[in-house]
Symmetry: C2
Subunit: 409 residues, 2 copies
């Protein structure tokens, strides 16, 4: 491990405090926390990346507008309802969530980022959210990093948080983060949220650039086809509380910050795949030897989203025929007779034909919980890596109905 | 029904005869026919459309070459093995299949089309196929149209054939066809085969043009993303045995032939969706009001291939949130606040928000075996229709392993 792990999640960096509340949005019975507030005691620089879906949830639209005008210093989030496709009322509700925490904290509304995740198309139950909002500012504590990580979960089965210390010789700063995974195996298809905090003393320029870079190499690598949900959001707040010389773009320290951020976000991205709904396999898909980067990406995405490939993995079946078939329709430039496919380095297909590895050896790899599939096109030097999973009958069964939510109407 | 139905499938048109054999390719135990021959007693004009997958099975490559040089007069097909990703031996085997029937029929090899369907990546068991091939020419009969339709099936649960009579006032011709569906819900992802025969007296030009046109409006409308398997093939043989004035391109009769062919192929295409593996719903997806045809198609394909949308249909859940979410990432031009979505005409979403139809009414539609989802973008006049299905836990379970095949190694 290249970085020293530390405790506290998003509250590990100096000056960040958090609180949560249970409002009955996720479920009216169980009193699970479903509202969270994260606040920096110091002013921050901030950056965000958002869904590219052309249908954007109200909190995404509002937060994007806030970020254009001001630096965020707080984030308020709810789970259980996405506040998406909710029209003018949705915008008003998102603003009301920001107002609800801004006033007691002495912030303007535009210093608050808003995130929602859950079912699409139903208005937020503001009558249940308002009482929770009123308690958040009073409950802020450094001990609540984990509570925030829990409050944003929906169908996730485990908390996803991490915090590391980055040493700069003599002085150090911390990066903390939490995330929620997707209703779907691929977070691109459901809501993925990630909040990152740091006490590094960094310029907005360096922060924003690093975030864009790193998102491409982490969360976008678990996006099956680059599609995102209506709500996907990654927000970073940097309050500079660790002091030290300011990290500026292009410096060695900026590269070091970028690398540490990549480490943190890639860990979270992989944990989202591992906790995909009813997932039983974690598959690293390495495409090599492509003519172009885009071709490598096309191949990886076609294979990773093929229901037939994913079904065979679920059955411990090292079926390379389905893989090469997906390679063929990926629209990447390929030559069938050059393609090699291997499972954990064991050839399954050589030069577009059956390799002579005994099938039992390949099945032994495919039976593991974690393995790597390498596809070499032997056409060039471009590469692409994706982290993906199988698809199980239980996944479909789990997603057959959101009727439990709809009943609330 | 605009055309008079008739019996006999591909042998309904005059001058077509067929035979089948059981070679133990599909299964070494059950003696199901898995080899078929279709032959026209008269010379033919012929046309074909093939997979656009860049990984093409050997029989596709060989048949494409044959069609470039000669008119096909016979088709030989096997099920149980796709003869794909089989290198030079695959090409030799495909040619050997053609040779095996060409000699006894007095044809050249290039007058024979070859089709294979089944598992990818294993060589054809020629030692088992050769004895079957030797019997085919001797068993030809007009009564074997249905037997051919059965011999090409793999995971299909029912025969797919049709024959119609087209009256031209005073004289008539027939069009017969059979097809096999996909290992997958969407035939684009597995092998789809279709053989069409007609005794119409038609020019190659009119035949080829009609086939291209009609494929776009039938089999390509059940293609989820325009991707095709390594083996997809539609072949048409027209022997002119019905006599009458030759049908030439651009004539009224050519349009009439095209319409009749569309009727036949659309019936078969829909029957492939209905017989998709473990499918419980047949959904007609109508996209209206798109700015361009391509946008309408993008929207339809994004929705039709969303595992979340398909899962909700499986659960009788009229979940429009998942539909609008797929519309948003389709990359089509949209305006969220203009989008209407309805189930059998009942509004589920109006202007991008929840419509006021009672949820029980929408659930009643989604609970039916067959319903229509209409998405109106209200941006223009372009439209697109796709025929699609749900996805079930049983589908994934069914596709978890092709190990039964691999055991044969």
């Amino acid at each position: 491990m290249p970085y020293k792990s530390t405790k506290g999640g998003v509250c590990a960096p100096k000056g960040f405090v958090a609180s949560t509340a249970a409002c009955g949005i996720k479920s009216s019975k169980a009193k699970r926390a479903d509202l969270a507030l994260l606040w920096s005691e110091e002013p921050c620089v901030s950056a965000g990346v958002f869904t590219t879906n052309r249908v954007k949830a109200a909190p995404v639209k509002v937060t994007q507008a806030h970020l254009r005008h001001r630096e965020l210093r707080a984030i308020v989030a709810n789970s259980g309802n996405a506040n998406a496709c909710t029209g003018v009322k949705g915008i008003e509700d998102a603003r009301a969530m920001a107002d609800g925490v801004a006033k007691p904290l002495g912030l303007t509304r535009r210093e608050v980022g808003i995130c929602s995740t859950g079912v699409i198309g139903l208005p937020l139950p503001m009558e249940r959210i308002a009482p929770g909002l009123a308690t958040l500012a009073g409950d802020l504590s450094r001990r609540n990093g984990g509570a925030v990580a829990d409050a944003i979960l929906t169908s996730d089965t485990c908390r996803k948080e991490i915090a590391v210390t980055v040493d700069l010789g003599g002085h150090s700063y911390r990066i903390g983060a939490c995330a929620k995974g997707a209703g779907m195996i691929c977070p691109s298809m459901a809501t993925m949220l990630c909040f990152v905090t740091t006490d590094a003393n960094i310029t907005k320029d360096c922060l924003q650039r690093s975030l864009l870079d790193v998102t491409e190499a982490s969360f976008n690598r678990i996006c099956i086809d680059g599609d995102m949900s209506t709500n996907d959001t990654v927000l970073v707040l940097a309050n500079g509380a660790a002091g030290g010389k300011r990290i500026t773009r292009g410096s060695k320290e900026c590269r070091r910050f970028r690398d540490a951020l990549e480490y943190v976000l890639l860990k979270l991205a992989k944990s989202i795949v591992r906790d995909g709904e009813r997932v039983t396999k974690f598959v690293t898909l390495d495409v090599k030897g492509a003519g172009t980067y885009l071709d490598a990406k096309k191949v990886a995405e076609a294979v990773a989203k093929s229901a037939l490939v994913k079904s065979s993995w679920n059955g411990n079946d090292p079926n390379w025929g389905r893989i090469i078939h997906a390679v063929g329709y990926s629209r990447a430039r390929i030559r069938e007779e050059l393609i090699d496919i291997s499972y954990d380095g064991k050839p399954a297909c050589t030069g577009g034909e059956l390799a002579d590895t005994p099938i039992k050896d390949l099945r032994a790899v495919a039976a593991k919980e974690e393995f790597k599939v390498t596809i070499n096109l032997h056409l060039g030097k471009a590469e692409y890596t994706l982290y993906t999973s199988d698809i199980s009958p239980e996944y479909i069964d789990f997603n057959r109905s959101e009727y439990a939510y709809w009943k609330n109407r």
